[in-house]
Amino acid sequence: MSARRIFAGPARLAAIAPYAWMVLFFLVPFGFVLKISLSQTAIAQPPYVPVFDVTEGWASIKAAFGQLSLDNFRLLVSDDLYISSYLRSVLVAVISTAILLLIGYPVAYGMARLPKRWQPIAMMLVIVPFWTSFLIRIYAWINILQHDGLLNKVLLALHIVSKPVVWLSTDTAMYIGIVYSYLPFMILPLYATLAKMDGSLLEAAGDLGASPARAFWLVTFPLSLPGVAAGVLLCFIPIVGEFVIPDLLAGSGSMMIGQTLWLEFFTNKDWPVASAAAVALLLLLIPPLLLYDRLQRRTLAGGG
């Protein structure tokens, strides 16, 4: 025990540099987002008027608090474009996460039931696409889903459809892209909990007369809930703010909040409104982020 305590000193010193880095490049930037979300839009470079300037001392900060502008947030809650893109983001994330769970669970279950020596290979096979460029994988689907793409050719050849179906620029294409990209994030935590499960529990349930299906619902599924929670959060949180997939695969009709933010920033050059959209998105994500943080800490501190 004492050796551990002696270790703790130098280990804490090791944390100083990454700590400083994360404060400067992760924490402090949120302060700027908040600050600029409260600023006025201006036609200038950069395109906003700062509401207060820290360099002018405490008096000016106090004076400035009186004139903080909530206009950008007022715009967010009054304009249908923003409200509908928030609702759409949450809806898309909920539906995608549900599909991911429905597909990911059987795959993870199949992996966990493989003979022991095959399991590392199966895990590798699931991880490899995660390493392969995400943008390229989305592009691969555009190849398949386009008007004269492979999917339509196969469907036509099999006489399932009589003329090519429009796949690109639809919600179906977007859901395919999201599920495809996030599937490893769902499978891996599920597999981790399912593989650790003690098989004798299932045998006991079987010996006591439970059918395999009943044993699954009474034993396996409840025990896998931590993995389910991890997989759901790992998918849900980033999907809410997803930009590239809906931009490339979904139609231009309705946007997700990530697209709205992008549009305000790059096309309309309205940095304050883009910042306000980011703050609102962050507020929406705080509850799932807190849950995720607790889960991560338990997994990593608990000896992995």
Partner: protein, 271 residues
């Protein structure tokens, strides 16, 4: 493990096979079409390296590829250094002031939507009056990828038997020496895997790079992205195939490293 548990049902095999086919088929098709001689992406016109020639004559694409490789190499290296230090602090530092803030700052970017990270970093760079380009993208990628390195190295550290370190100290090593001579060699495979992961993540990012780069210094994913928005082009298939080949080499090295890692102890890397 009982017999019944390891028995494979037809359902299990089917689920697994379908899942893997879903993951791999699109990539296989993409690679095949990159060797297609026809300009029409969907008509097979025989094997050809035409689109690869096209890429090597495309100055803008080559510049972007070079920029991306440099950003990925530098940011992965800095991220591995910082991420490993952070993992040591978290796994061996026990309790210290601000520890929970530290771990939250390191776990949050793993799931944080990229539009938020990108926008917030850009606003910081603007406030600091930094010239946007290679260095701002590199810093942004370092910030994101060091968190992945931390998780990989930390889970490896957590799974190590600490009695080894304690034994070294009982034998007269000071903590730093005990760590360097006993623990560090054991976590090298995780550190290597962390570097590889950081490299591939940096090579892949569109959103954060779009926010933090300046005019005239586009990365490869930014270029690919703007081409893809205009539709499918055979040249893009060729570029994507080369990126996949590069990543495949990286994965082979990383899996070799993690095989070393798992043969020396239980591997618990979640990624």
């Amino acid at each position: 493990m009982g017999r019944r548990v390891n028995q494979m049902s037809r359902f299990n095999i089917t689920a697994l096979a379908l899942g893997l086919a879903f993951l791999y088929l699109p990539i296989v098709i993409l690679i095949l079409y990159s060797f297609n001689a026809s300009r029409l992406v969907t008509v097979w016109g025989g094997w050809s390296l035409r689109w690869y020639h096209e890429f090597f004559n495309d100055r803008a694409m080559l510049d972007a590829a070079w920029m991306s490789l440099r950003v990925a190499a530098v940011s992965a290296t800095v991220a591995t250094l910082l991420g490993t230090l952070a993992a040591i602090g978290l796994a061996r530092g026990e309790r210290f002031k601000g520890r929970s803030l530290f771990s939250s700052m390191l776990y949050a970017p793993l799931v944080m939507p990229e539009v938020i990270s990108g926008l917030s970093l850009l606003l910081l760079f603007v406030a600091l009056n930094a010239e946007r380009g290679f260095w701002t993208v590199t810093i942004a990628h370092t910030t994101l990828t060091m968190c992945f390195v931390t998780v990989v190295v930390q889970s490896r550290l957590a799974s190590l038997d600490r009695s080894l370190e304690e034994a070294a100290m009982d034998l007269g090593c000071d903590p730093v020496k005990a760590f360097l001579s006993v623990t560090l060699p054991l976590i090298v495979p995780a550190i290597v895997a962390g570097w590889m992961l950081a490299f591939t993540l940096s090579l892949d990012d569109v959103v954060i790079a779009s926010f933090t780069t300046g005019p005239g210094s586009a990365t490869l994913p930014i270029r690919i992205y703007s081409e893809v928005r205009l539709g499918v082009k055979p040249e893009i298939n060729a570029i994507c195939t080369m990126v996949i080949a590069l990543i495949a080499v990286v994965i082979v090295i990383a899996s070799f490293a993690s095989k070393l890692s798992s043969s020396q102890g239980k591997s618990a890397a979640p990624l």
